[in-house]
Amino acid sequence: MEKPRIGVYVCWCGTNIAKMVDVEAVAEEIKNVPNVVVSRNYKYMCSDPGQDMIINDIKEFKLNRIVVSACSPRIHEITFRKTLKKAELNPYLFQMANIREHDSWVHTDRAEATKKAKALVTAAINRINYHEPLKELSVDINPATLIIGGGISGITAALEIADADKKVYMIEKSNKLGGYTADIDLTYPHLSSVQQMLGPMIERMKKNKNIDLFLETEIKEITGYIGNFETIITPKNDNETKLSFGNIVVSIGLRSWDPSPLENYGYGKFPDVITSVEFEKMLLSGNIAKKDGSIPKNIAIIHCVGSRNKNYHEYCSRTCCTVALKYANQLRSAFPNASIYELFADMRTMSKGCEELYTITSRKKVVFMMFDQENDLPGIRKANINDNCEMIIELNEKRSRKFVEVPADMVILMVAMEGREMVKEVAQITGVSLDGNKLFIEKHPKLDPVATTTSGVYTVGSCQGPKSIPDSVSQARAAVARILGTIARGTAQVAGTTAHININICCGCQMCISVCPYSAISFDAEKNVSVINEILCQGCGTCVALCRPNAIDIWGCSNRQMTAELTALLLSD
């Protein structure tokens, strides 16, 4: 321990914070808190100049503790820890006060928000007095990788790793590789054949000696930690096998949504209302036909079915608009005289070449009609005999503000993509959280989209969020780059925020052993005390709160630190 010399940096985040919090006043008042040596405010603390400012101050004022009061630590804690490292200060001598997500963005009264900011910063300062430099432990990395899900993203990752001569275990739930991609005929924007791409990849997968393929297999439990995971699987027609691996790639994709609940579209009621996935299979088989075998004369494609809909999936499924355009083109080629309708809510054709595809399509006698996704969805009814078609789609065309009846013999619903049936289990097994949409949460949405909060576990492809094939592939490659990097280093650092037992106090009741979810605690019968394996410990702190004599404490979230934060928070409030 030495006397804390604290530097405090209050960030404006442009106007994000500064608009609602008087950052200058906060920085000024904070100067009176004991042990604060420097207190500054600055436009963007996370920018290079912002970080340099901290580095310079550390050198100039011999600072040994840094508090940054800015956005959520979930976003920039790592950034600033690296800054500290650069300045040769232990990265754990750092604390963030969240005055953006928890303050400026959620409050409307500037005086109140400023007051709250002061309290939060004072609490962080008081707490940091008791921060200690922590050691990060290094663990050896088993060079094998487990990949869960053999869609295009899983396959890409597997091949990439196997080509680098490292072992891969591929677990696929179904009886074939390829996922949805295996069901796609042509891919947008250039309408090239997907199977010509995918086929050879699957062949390579089968041949590669570095890849052990387990089809029709599921994962039940994974134990261990980065570099040293283990699982036992029971492949179909095979014996129980134990696998050890150092990293995990989760690539279980999404599934298409069953649109029956949207009764206005009559899915299940009208035989020729089909989903995009069903249509894609039709395309792949080369035979586009109605259920009765006849050729459709009027074909309508309805967008955003269950997507961008508050009642079902609020998020955009991202690929459907372009896929729908792809269909219009393929339909036009197949039926030069058919009437093709695109009923859309908004036309979202991001990505290279996609807006062009829209232009091309619109020149192909495809009728585009817009509906109000929020308030007024189209409805399908059975047509009358003299209507000359099977079904009539009723809609209030949004742009012309006219009620329109669209004849249809076949309706393709561009359905939403949602989490797979087993996604919760997979999330739990791998220790990754899901968001409300059952999409895996990435470590950082912008800066670290393939890693997760559990080290050694990556999520790639559409299970992380709906995406196209190239995006899925890029993510897979990004994750592989990370994994190969760790394998090459041979070791990984595990966080220093682990629990530890004071053996002079432990009374050997062994209660902590039963609560630890990672079996990190064992009993030393000779000394009659419990001991924690720092590598296994994930720092949840459950044992800390349980231990009656307080023999256990936890680095980085010690009782001392938390009480200091708490008292200052309340006293300065």
Partner: protein, 341 residues
């Protein structure tokens, strides 16, 4: 000062308590609550119980509170200010109904808190407290005052000692100037004393053991097994020290919220394991037997040798309070048995 005798009618006590209170003095007297008798503030005499041998807890808290702020502090970013205890804030108090053993107990405490370093907080509290004791006309099996040279009608430590003459009257012995002050102030309440034989009015507590068989003889038996033998039953709860009128051991701790703080002294007990535990984990008195020995030796060897006063007044509180029946009198008697073996 020569002891002066007066007569105090039982009926005058009502007025005395009232007047003392009016005079700004806080009056403490034995009060019965949930069947235990303890000293508590009273505003009228009838709140006091007459039905007690001794109170469960001793009266020491009036001069040696269980928690006492000994100084205060204030913090600012670069400054610390210490504030001394304001002795003038200590109120005047009257202890009514202490027994002669209780009063004698104050002498022991005083010997601890005075000496070469004078604890002015204690001294001031004692100075501001007038002790009006009442002689015992009853005793129980745990009492052994007479065996430790305290008398159920003894005046030591009291400012005034009342002895019941009959249902309506007390003999009031004015022992000190402080006692006299009270009498002078409220002289209408006191009458001329009758001629009585005080000894016949107080309880006849039998002498149970010969003190001289202990004094000067225990210390050489420091390593005797008897300490282990006697203390097997003791659970180290420390209660004996908390109720004892002569136990003065304390702890000092700071409390602070970062802006203001106090340094506080609070009761502690040599019966606790932690009392002497070093931060290295080493503990010179690491077993209950060593701690039990410390308690006995402190009272019967260390205090007598240092301050020339016996550390125990034989009130028997420790034995009554002990939940596992560690009976001090019995232990002393069998200690003598062991010493004379």
């Amino acid at each position: 000062m020569n002891i002066e005798n007066k007569l105090l009618k039982l009926s005058s006590l009502e007025g005395l308590v009232l007047k003392l209170n009016q005079d700004g003095k806080q009056v403490f007297a034995p009060v019965k609550k949930d069947n235990i008798v303890n000293f508590a503030p009273v505003s009228a005499f009838h709140e006091m119980t007459q039905d007690y041998i001794v109170t469960a807890r001793s009266a020491k808290f009036v001069v040696f509170p269980r928690v006492e702020t000994i100084l205060e502090m204030q913090f600012s970013k670069d400054n610390i200010t210490l504030k001394d205890k304001d002795l003038s804030s200590i109120p005047d108090a009257v202890l009514l109904g202490t027994r002669p053993c209780d009063a004698a107990g104050f002498k022991v405490l005083t010997s601890i808190f005075e000496g070469d370093y004078i604890d002015n907080i204690y001294v001031t509290r004692l100075k501001k407290t007038t002790i009006i004791s009442i002689s015992c006309n009853n005793y129980d099996a745990k009492c052994f005052c007479t065996s430790v040279n305290v008398h159920p009608g003894g005046t030591a430590g009291s400012d005034i000692l009342l002895t019941r003459i009959d249902n309506d009257n007390f003999l009031a012995e004015i022992v000190t100037e402080k006692g006299k002050e009270i009498v002078n102030k409220f002289d209408t309440l006191f009458d001329i004393a009758p001629d009585v034989n005080k000894d016949s009015l107080v309880a006849n507590v039998p002498v149970e053991f010969d003190l001289s068989a202990i004094l000067g003889k225990i210390y050489p038996r420091f390593e005797s097994d008897i300490w282990v033998e006697q203390s097997l039953r003791c659970i180290g709860c420390g209660t004996c020290a908390y109720v004892c009128p002569t136990c003065g051991c304390f702890d000092i701790q700071d409390v602070s919220d970062g802006h203001n703080g106090q340094r506080k002294r609070s009761w502690d007990s040599c019966g606790f394991d932690l009392f002497t535990l070093h931060s290295s984990g080493h503990n010179p008195r690491n077993t209950q037997s060593k701690r039990w020995r410390q308690r006995i030796l402190h009272k019967f060897v260390y205090v007598p040798e240092q301050d020339n006063i016996l550390g125990c007044v034989g009130c028997g509180r420790c034995s009554r309070a002990c939940s596992v029946d560690m009976n001090l009198k019995e232990h002393l008697i069998n200690l003598i048995g062991e010493l004379t073996k």
